[in-house]
Amino acid sequence: MNLLIVEDDLQAAKAMMISLTEAGHLCSSAGDGAEGLATARDGHFDVLIVDRMMPKMDGVAMVETLRREGDGTPVLFLSALGEIDDRVAGLKAGADDYLVKPYALAELLARVEALARRRETGSVQTLLKVGDLEMDLIGRQVRRAGQEIDLQPREFQLLEFLMRHGGQSVTRTMLLEKVWEYHFDPQTNVIDVHISRLRGKIDKGFDRAMLQTVRGAGYRLEA
């Protein structure tokens, strides 16, 4: 993937580039909003990673300008401001996701890949398919290798999110935000237990486990 990092903290930008390049992505970087805007206009990027507070032109202004110009490239905001109101303001400006500093690089990577995927599958899907697992979004049915699997509503949502990001790592925080819509981290391993229940339903009786635990990151649904 071709990524643009717009961040005035050069150390943070460097760490991001190392980690994203390691994951196989192509990274460009810009040190402030004005430079970021110019670079974003020239290149063809899959995802823009934009710091919210920067000199010259801040992230909000930069993204608003891009959106006005009709550029729909997915944007991930990075910000030290983590209040709900700050998130809402960031998303209103046209960002697609919001990550509060300090963040784990694994979290950043997972979110960037999720954003890029969202763009690829922009059209409305009614059938999700990962390996031999199929999800009918209209009939609310899940089948693995033709065998029907009975899921609770929340398990269905959880699996839907995992299938939409099949083959990608998704973090616990992402699941909590996108599936449960909570913006805090519980002390107990509540997400792990939900995952293990889901795993019990979709992997039990099959010789290959699809729902994998990714060490230090979260989970991945493998085809």
Partner: protein, 480 residues
């Protein structure tokens, strides 16, 4: 310094005493001026009317007498007139007469010479002072007024009226007018000074409080006298503002101290671990990957603590919660219950939800959800397998909305219940459990930010070697 210079620059060149610079005194002066103006106009009117009346009646008497004498002159000629003048001059009438030849030489009358100095035309009015010997022989000056006319035959006749009595009456009125004016000004100034001093004293008390607070004394408070007037209101408002400010500053300072205190130890630990790791790796004894993993985990722990302390500090220093919304407490309880139900089942804990429907709560939904999650975290952590947890959402008979979580864990000893809300407080039997001791502090902060409270109670009691359990209630004041 700058503000003092500015003050000097805009002040009057002549420094008036403080009292005379106060707003009430200036207002008083203004109203005094307005009132004095109105009073002057009124008194002037009284004077003019009175004086006009007095002079008018004297003039009328003079005119009547003149017409009378003219009629005598017309009927009986100069001789008849002369006789009448002599006769009247000797009478008791308070009138003055003088009959003169055309040359001005006196013929008869009660006065020796005409008071009219320059006679011209046919008639001339004059106001003059009559000097006569009084009863005790001394000379008495009395005001008089009269007119001199030329008769048909060229002779001149002066008729005047003694208006001494009337003049002294007008004089009294005039003196009364001046006296009243002086009294108004005097009373006005005195009243103004009194009111200004009173107001100044009340304001000075408030100013002193503000000055003290500005200089950093946040414990100072204005005196509320209990009169219920606007100064009391102002003082009470000022005190309330200082209370909030003090609490807010205190909260921030406490949060700062807490962050400094509690981050220091994990940061020291992290640093030590990194250093030790570096030494070990350099000596080829350890795996650099494991050391780095450990360091990342430690850093994550520091960040979690930092975020929790920061969230509490924000809640405590916020005067008004942003982003509150009206939502159904049952739906929230259901959603949180749904999140925690599997983990309870995994641990062999019986979990139940009892949510009353049809309620509405206006609050910061995310914070309430987090508070419930923290309470459930604790319940799950401390309830042994085989135990039970019940999450309830209901309306109390008082109208308050309550979320309660009852477990069958060891509970919190009564003497510790007040303490567990404090930051970083961990009870003896919880040392073995993970956590930094911020969970309940955050719940309490959420409750306080909504003007609600966090209550602890004993659970269902000791059963099967468990208990007595804990009932934690997050109570929000009902809609007013």
């Amino acid at each position: 310094m700058a503000s003092i210079n500015l003050n000097r620059a805009i002040s009057l060149p002549v420094r008036l005493p403080r009292l005379f610079r106060t707003t009430p005194f200036r207002l008083m002066l203004f109203f005094l001026a307005v009132f004095a103006g109105a009073a002057s106009a009124f008194l002037a009117y009284v004077y003019l009317v009175t004086a006009g009346q007095v002079y008018g009646s004297a003039d009328a008497r003079v005119a009547r007498e003149t017409a009378d004498l003219k009629a005598i002159y017309a009927a009986h000629g100069f001789v008849g007139l002369n006789r009448a003048v002599i006769e009247r001059s000797s009478g008791d009438r308070p009138m003055l007469y003088l009959l003169m030849k055309p040359s001005g030489q006196p013929v008869s009358g009660s006065i020796g010479a005409s008071p009219v100095k320059s006679f011209s035309g046919d008639r001339t009015w004059a106001s003059f002072t009559l000097t006569q010997p009084g009863e005790n022989g001394a000379m008495v000056h009395r005001a008089a007024r009269g007119e001199e006319i030329r008769l048909v035959g060229g002779e001149r006749l002066f008729v005047g009226a003694d208006i001494g009595e009337a003049e002294s009456y007008v004089g009294k009125v005039l003196r009364a007018v001046w006296g009243a004016g002086a009294l108004i000004v005097l009373l006005g100034v005195a009243g103004g000074v009194l009111v200004s001093r009173n107001v100044s004293r009340s304001i000075a008390g408030l100013s002193a409080v503000i000055d003290a607070a500005r200089n950093g004394d946040m414990a100072v408070r204005a005196r509320v006298r209990g009169a219920g007037d606007e100064y009391d209101e102002l003082a009470a408002g000022l005190n309330d503002m200082l209370d909030r400010l003090d609490k807010s500053i205190g909260g921030l300072r406490h949060a700062g101290d807490a962050i400094a205190h509690d981050l220091r130890s994990p940061l020291t630990r992290l640093r030590a671990r990194l250093e030790a790791g570096l030494v070990e790796v350099e000596a080829g004894r350890a795996d650099p990957k494991a050391a780095l993993h450990q360091a990342v985990d430690d850093a994550d722990g520091v960040l979690r603590t930092f975020n929790a302390v920061l969230a509490i500090a924000r809640l405590e220093s916020a005067t008004a919660l942003p982003s509150t919304s009206a939502f159904d407490p049952a739906a929230l309880a259901e959603s949180v219950a749904e999140l925690y139900e599997p983990v309870c089942e995994d641990k062999g804990i019986d979990f139940a939800l009892e949510a009353a429907s049809g309620l509405t709560l206006t609050a910061h939904r995310d914070f309430v959800a987090q508070a419930l999650a923290n309470l459930l975290d604790n319940a799950v952590k401390y309830t042994p397998p085989g135990g039970a947890i019940v999450l309830r959402a209901r309306r109390r008979s008082s109208g308050d909305i309550e979320f309660s979580i009852t477990d069958t864990g060891p509970g919190i000893p009564e003497e510790d219940r007040g303490r567990v809300e404090q930051r970083f407080v961990r009870l003896e039997n919880s040392r073995s459990q993970p956590g930094v001791g911020l969970g309940l502090s955050l719940v309490a902060a959420v409750a306080r930010a909504h003007k609600g409270r966090l209550e602890f109670d004993e659970g269902p009691g000791a059963v099967d070697g468990m208990g007595p359990g804990l009932r934690a209630a997050l109570v929000f004041p009902g809609a007013v």
